[in-house]
């Protein structure tokens, strides 16, 4: 399950972005703001809520996967 960590946008069709999490892919809806392929985002409740600068992605994953 990958819901809380950032994923990378690999495809955009209209307002639906396909997001890659490494182990799986999910879709997120773009409802506000501009997004491009390659950007890292956080999805919650099926919508993209925030962009994550690439240099912060590692910090997210470490923190969330820490026990």
């Amino acid at each position: 399950m990958c819901l809380a960590i950032p994923g990378r946008i690999i495809e955009i069709n209209g307002d639906i972005a396909k997001i890659d999490y490494g182990s799986e892919r999910r879709e997120g809806k773009i409802v506000e703001g501009k997004y491009s392929i390659g950007e890292f985002v956080i999805v919650q409740g099926r919508i993209i809520i925030e962009k994550v600068p690439e240099e912060q992605v590692k910090g997210w994953i470490e923190l969330i996967q820490e026990k």
Binding site: L3, I5, V31, I49, E50, G59, L63
Partner: protein
């Protein structure tokens, strides 16, 4: 509002992190979502077990105030004020947290700019915008002030 209901509204967005950490199952997450939407009063021990990180901080805060951790005023002060202070000061796991994570973890007061089906577009902290789920505040209208936590609007102020 019952203490358990208030607590779950604010803690619910964190459940996705618990799922990622495999501390809860998808079935539990679905149950929590149903409970938060229907304002069900869940067992206190169960909530304390699932959200043990939150309660570690709430308990300490309640002790400082010489009140019970389940006191509604304690919970309100915790989620509206203390929780953001902890994040700003980089206490606990927040010491290593990236800025974008801290920003989502904080509870912000936000103004509803637009409603798109199940999503609210809100503005907070001056000019920051974020889409959040309307799920927990079904009756809000444009210009209402709500609190937001992660990807959810939590309550109308």
């Amino acid at each position: 509002m019952k203490e358990e209901v208030f607590f779950l509204k604010y803690a619910f967005p964190c459940s996705f992190i618990l799922l990622d950490r495999k501390e809860i199952t998808k079935e539990e997450l679905d149950k929590l979502e149903k409970a938060v939407v229907n304002e069900e009063v869940l067992d206190r021990e169960y909530l304390e077990k699932i959200y043990f990180r939150a309660f570690q901080k709430i308990e300490k805060f309640a002790n400082e105030l010489k009140k019970d951790k389940w006191d509604l005023e304690v919970l309100k002060k915790y989620f509206i004020e203390e929780h953001n202070c902890i994040i700003n000061e980089g206490k606990y796991a927040y010491a290593k947290a990236p800025e974008s994570l801290k920003n989502l973890c904080k509870v912000h007061k936000a103004k509803v700019l637009e409603i798109k089906d199940e999503v609210l577009i809100v503005e907070y902290d001056g000019n920051k915008k974020r889409p959040v789920m309307k799920l927990l505040v079904p009756g809000v209208v444009v210009n209402d002030i709500v609190t937001i936590h992660y990807g959810y609007a939590i309550e109308k102020l």
